[in-house]
Subunit: 386 residues, 2 copies
Amino acid sequence: MDHIEQTFQVNYSFPVHFTEHLFRAGNELFGDFLLARRGDTVKKLLFLVDSEVALHHPLLDGQIREYVSGIEGYALAGILQLPGGEGCKNDRRYFYEIVDAVNELGIDRHSYVVAIGGGALLDLAGYASAVSHRGIRHIRIPTTVLSQNDSGVGVKNGINYAGKKNFLGTFAPPAAVFNDAFFLTTLSDRDWRSGIAEAVKVALIKDAAFFGWLEANAPLLAQRDPDAMEYLVQRCAALHLAHIAGGDPFEMGSSRPLDFGHWSAHKLEQLTGFELKHGEAVAMGIALDSCYSFVSGRLPEEALQRILGLLLQVGFEITHPGLVVDNAESPLLLGLQEFREHLGGTLTIMLLRAIGSGEEVHHLDVALLQEASHYLFHYQPIHSPQ
Amino acid sequence: MDHIEQTFQVNYSFPVHFTEHLFRAGNELFGDFLLARRGDTVKKLLFLVDSEVALHHPLLDGQIREYVSGIEGYALAGILQLPGGEGCKNDRRYFYEIVDAVNELGIDRHSYVVAIGGGALLDLAGYASAVSHRGIRHIRIPTTVLSQNDSGVGVKNGINYAGKKNFLGTFAPPAAVFNDAFFLTTLSDRDWRSGIAEAVKVALIKDAAFFGWLEANAPLLAQRDPDAMEYLVQRCAALHLAHIAGGDPFEMGSSRPLDFGHWSAHKLEQLTGFELKHGEAVAMGIALDSCYSFVSGRLPEEALQRILGLLLQVGFEITHPGLVVDNAESPLLLGLQEFREHLGGTLTIMLLRAIGSGEEVHHLDVALLQEASHYLFHYQPIHSPQ
Ligand SMILES: NC(=O)c1ccc[n+]([C@@H]2O[C@H](COP(=O)([O-])OP(=O)(O)OC[C@H]3O[C@@H](n4cnc5c(N)ncnc54)[C@H](O)[C@@H]3O)[C@@H](O)[C@H]2O)c1
Ligand SMILES: NC(=O)c1ccc[n+]([C@@H]2O[C@H](COP(=O)([O-])OP(=O)(O)OC[C@H]3O[C@@H](n4cnc5c(N)ncnc54)[C@H](O)[C@@H]3O)[C@@H](O)[C@H]2O)c1
Ligand SMILES: [Zn+2]
Ligand SMILES: [Zn+2]
């Protein structure tokens, strides 16, 4: 024997629930999930809560305590508040705060960490859970549009390090996700809107009918209609989940269709010192790459105009000084190189051939990018659609 | 729709090679592995080397530089030395040293971290690689008996935190393992012997024929015969790999057959302030749990005597003051509770019914443990076997 080929599979499975008032008496979803998994020793629950969520939902803490006390076979180990937003991913202290709590409260691999918050808090909590005891089960309760329809249903986590987004992190599927629509009512308008960009993105690369639905419902979405948002979150989450399950869940290759519009978005977030929110930057990135798809002869102009029209109608800005490409030295172009490094291996960028259908390329042409940027900055909506 | 069940599989596969003088000109194994995986951009290699290995193999650094310069499509990003032994897992500084190197040298998800060293250095390097960029490919080149036949071919990594072994870590299969027998020639006698305990363990729970081979070759193993050790490493690694592939690779359940003898071993390591090496403690743990298997009526006395005889003949101590159980307050007993916490969920302990065949139980009886400890401390080898 000179070599052994080791081969095995690991199966992952988790439910994503859609509900309202998860911890209100009478909502059995969360309790039923846990009861079905109880063992012969009491399992612990450690809650990690986004401070902004706690602020806007002052009854939550009491509701959780009451609710958990009714679940047989489980005990509340603690409720820890952590600052929401990017700050919690920027300072390692919060990572160690969670790890220390896991240690001191005796949370083991059969206990659960339950994280309630925006994408940032979930990314931090997911990472700390994934590396404590080589992986504690974690339940995600996303509270923003972006985290309910995109980041919170996925398999990635991470914190920032040395000024780089998500430099430390893992792929670690959650034990379950509970999307509670009620949380969305307290979001700022910017955070409400921001998450819609991911729905536009996934519709553009996967689902023309969903794009049509978004166009038809843009006014309702802009007015914060809860029913429209409920459908958007469910459809976007479903498309996201199907993509992960059908593809390369742990991203071993260089292809990332779901990163459509993201190469420039990541760079814009950084160029603006994270003044722009992720979804706001993604909306601009979608606009730019759609223009590129048009000027490079892939996408019909009429489709492009529908895309830009939808983004504007939802309330997004589609231009930004950082988005200008006027020569080969434009700062935005560094984003291409950084995106390649982030993927590792070969640069792979998603473009559009039609609404609902993408095409991957391995090179963007600077002259065409200039043209695309020029088109975008001179775009005049012909009429407000609908 | 009220819920989506997300289900997917991830496939893992990696080769484990057995060779000698991996980086000597003419040995194509390592180069061939990489050449088969080259891409259209140059991939980087970051080497992490156990300082003791570097000390005992002063030509290694030059050999690596020479060897890597001949592999097309790859570039040497750096060779970083880190202290070998448990110290590198105890101080977080080394973790950040690797992460910083990954950042500064631009090691991406398609580059490779190549770790050369004992189990401790491999655990550290594997962890830092697993969380940088959400997982950089890592190649393991284990240099101790224990890491070649056990830890280095497995899927776990970790560092110590808050005084707890492997408190932070992940499950992350390597990209490849290269076991180079030449490294074993420079081990201390204690490290040479220590790794043999894992072979005895896996033979006892899985493979009576291998146990017979170990008995027949005990004198050669004790005299550091390289051919006997080569067979031992290959057979033990193969059994270990087959167990992982066939079972629960990422240890989602509470059953850990490969932890036979380990509940008391972990405690002994801790009680002695890690004065005892892992394998030395495992030999004692095997002895104790074999005695328990006998006094609880599972294992025939003749089999027990063969086990104790083999351990002694290889040169292991089988008793230690810390191993005494004379009443319900004996410190060793805390190890049972800690082991349960470590597994999470239900206490699950492997015992023996015969050489080559185990049985899991969920409870150890203190009176029987006292009896087992008493038997062990009064054991007189009847004859030296063979
Ligand atoms: N893991 C992934 O796959 C993935 C994917 C995309 C984005 N992300 C990450 O997600 C993060 C962005 O997430 P986000 O858009 O949810 O923003 P966020 O988590 O930064 O939240 C935005 C703000 O809203 C607050 N907030 C959260 N829920 C609230 C509520 N119900 N009511 C009022 N305020 C509330 C937060 O405290 C924060 O101040 C980024 O760090 C990004 O890197 C991760
Ligand atoms: N990841 C896993 O699944 C797993 C399983 C079992 C043990 N472990 C871990 O492995 C570690 C023990 O590993 P180990 O037994 O290899 O000990 P080790 O890594 O501590 O090495 C022992 C000593 O030998 C030195 N050394 C290494 N190679 C040498 C060589 N070729 N010549 C001379 N000196 C050399 C090291 O620098 C160290 O000082 C522990 O931290 C343990 O927790 C991990
Ligand atoms: Zn995004
Ligand atoms: Zn062991």
